[in-house]
Symmetry: C2
Subunit: 507 residues, 2 copies
Amino acid sequence: MNVSGPSRAKRGIPPKSEFNKWYPAIVEIADLVDKRYPIKGMDVWKPYGLTAMGLIDSLARREMYRTGHHEYRFPLLVPEDLLDKENKLVSILKAARESGVDPSELRFDEEASGFKKEVYWVTHGGENKLEKPMFLRPTSETPMYTMFSLWVRSHADLPLKTFQIVNTFRYETKQTRSFIRVREIHFFEAHTVHADQAGADEQIEEDAEMVQRIMHDLCLPSLVSKRPVWDTFPGAWYTKAADVVMPNGRTLQVATYHHYKDQWANAFDLSYEDPEGNTKPCHQTTFGMSERLLGAVVGMHGDDKGLILPPAIAPIQVVVMPIAAHADSNVEPAAKALAERLSASGIRVELDTRDVRPGVKHYDWEIKGVPIRIELGPRDLSAGKFVLTPRTGSKSEIKIDEAEKSVLESLEGLADDLRQREKSLVSDKVQPFPFDNLDYDASQESSIESGIVYQIAFEGNDSDAEFLEKKTGLTLLGECDDEFPEERNCLITGKATKKMQHIARMY
Amino acid sequence: MNVSGPSRAKRGIPPKSEFNKWYPAIVEIADLVDKRYPIKGMDVWKPYGLTAMGLIDSLARREMYRTGHHEYRFPLLVPEDLLDKENKLVSILKAARESGVDPSELRFDEEASGFKKEVYWVTHGGENKLEKPMFLRPTSETPMYTMFSLWVRSHADLPLKTFQIVNTFRYETKQTRSFIRVREIHFFEAHTVHADQAGADEQIEEDAEMVQRIMHDLCLPSLVSKRPVWDTFPGAWYTKAADVVMPNGRTLQVATYHHYKDQWANAFDLSYEDPEGNTKPCHQTTFGMSERLLGAVVGMHGDDKGLILPPAIAPIQVVVMPIAAHADSNVEPAAKALAERLSASGIRVELDTRDVRPGVKHYDWEIKGVPIRIELGPRDLSAGKFVLTPRTGSKSEIKIDEAEKSVLESLEGLADDLRQREKSLVSDKVQPFPFDNLDYDASQESSIESGIVYQIAFEGNDSDAEFLEKKTGLTLLGECDDEFPEERNCLITGKATKKMQHIARMY
């Protein structure tokens, strides 16, 4: 592992309390990415960042294999005319709505449809203008469903559970931030096809569980909400999302899962023959995550000294440092043997034998957020011990004979510490709204703090929500799975409700 | 593993002797890719094909880590103005040539420079025309060198050894073929920076060795040639390539490595400070491979029954089939236990308990090219044995107690068989040219067979080579590392030479 970058640069890390300065600085100082590529929002992944992201991908793959999904890879380019199918879908839904179908049943916002304005367009091949323009996928419903309609014929082909991990693109006009808002996105997407709504319902539950397992490994608490209609994925019946409350109180959407019901079936000709020979429309779901997971890890766990990486995704879980090796020729071989033993038990270990002061090594590995540091000097060695220091805690002496067990326990302990710490951070950041209704005046507005996520009782309609967002300057995350234990009055309508929602500044 | 595709489709496989029909059929029948995506040359990777490709990637990563390379990921999009640097390079080399520098020292063809005509252009973001058009990388010298010039400051930063595995794009106007000629390419590229030419020379030797190790795992013999000047990568001092002789006698370039000397240093401002404080230009190399490796594996090893995958990259190395399990309730648990034992010793195993006739199972797994089939029935079980059938050989009875050892030996044996077989196939396909010079007349042309790679003595210049290619209708692969043991007469000039070259139809 090349650590030359940070130690030589000795660039100052802004204090974490100045989060909006700290975050963009640490992603480069810790050598995760280099932002100096000449296109904004397209960073170069350095080996350390890419390895951490690869380990997050492994968590997603583990969940996918466990639940019977298969990995595919679809082309990046999508011909423009496939978008017409999406437009067709929009028309169908619009017509249904106009002909009196309950809009809440459709939960579809025709204004939000299509990605035309958010995609990059390929118009030329060499010096030739292409007959059909193509766009870079922002997500893969359109290319995938085109193929699914060829693959799904009968009930025996269902459920079809697919996923891919690929680069996707969005033409972002907002300010870009590493991992959080980028133009080339390292993206995970699972797409499934089911025989009926019950199958898709189960899938959504499975998705929710997978998100929780992954968030557990990343030591990140999250808020799960059913997004309001206008924030629902185009064509979806409903969208649920997991948001991480970042240290500055802004929420970061890190995972979404969409239930499409059979709303795409017609537009993409996705039907199957049931055991009785009847043609039935397919039901579908999507589950998406991205490099934002790494952004959340960086933002939540790091401190004034640098990153703190959860053991599950730390490229180096343990760094072993021989101390005063020049004074005792047994030290370095013993440190090497210890590193090899730990490595043999599946721990990701780095042996740091650089000829620099221990302080320099501490500084480097703290920046990189390595969970555990082990120091082994002549006196430790003769006592059959080493010194173990978790990135979040204090030193302890460990018997060399018990190295594997102690290190594994310390890794778990550190993960638990992180979970505990972030949970209490989030409970500080999530607070009841300071007013019972929105009749407060301008002089009272200062009671609404910008770094806080507010929990509210809300059962209003779209225009109530619009009013709420305008008045507070915050965004509605949507309905929580949990309800208030007892009825309260809706912040807008005043009606009694148990419905719990959050409003926050979203990334 | 989903095998429903091929067994139900029962699509006929053309005989391998009709290679140009067999190849495009088998890639779909074996469920490696689906070619029905609405853009030609952009196939959908199915799970089986993607897993095999992922295993090839693992071989490349193994070699990269072994030799101290680090994995990066650079953006896909490249701003047009970076190409200007490449154009600047072309001008420099042209000027050098015009001012009397020995062209053979430069070995650079200014006509071949730039990718402008071969790339896809992104011109719009949403509805906005971009100020600077961008192109999809066809390879990453330009984006990488832009960053390398920021990263390399002193001799301590060298050598810089990087690689990435990414999607690249070429606007192909020729006929596309799965894995062999595609428009979205699964690409491997290693890029290195060295302090001097000796460093780059060593890198080229290391690249050559890595290619041979990977080709050994893929059980593929190859011809290695130093490409003629006009087929050298733009900006390279020289290019070496490994070609596989396919069953139809056409050669497929599967790996290239380029020595750039310090020719790019000026254009990309790539210099460093040596220990004495002098500024020196960097020397560079590139090493590239792609999904063509999978194309070569498919094309070379398969037979009339389907694929034959080398054990190193077979997604399933062994399929275990319980036989007559309904007649003896111990069979299926015993088969399962056997599969688990094999799996525990690191073998990739599939247990096939489908309720279909053994013939159907044989058919399915033969198509997929699984190296070893194991059958276990009631009689085998009571004798403490099972039947092992390699995809390339005949049955044998193995003691259940010796399963791991026997299976591992059989996998190695099968790999050796494949190597032996392809070596003899290639030696059939590579033959001496039937004439001593090119003075043969039209009536004699039929002696030149289209499915043969001809070995020739050749020491001529560019115009001799041009004449040679025109007259024979074949392409010069370039100089072999091996020479003829004794001098021969050059096919064109008649001069005595030991220089061995090949001419062939290239893919």
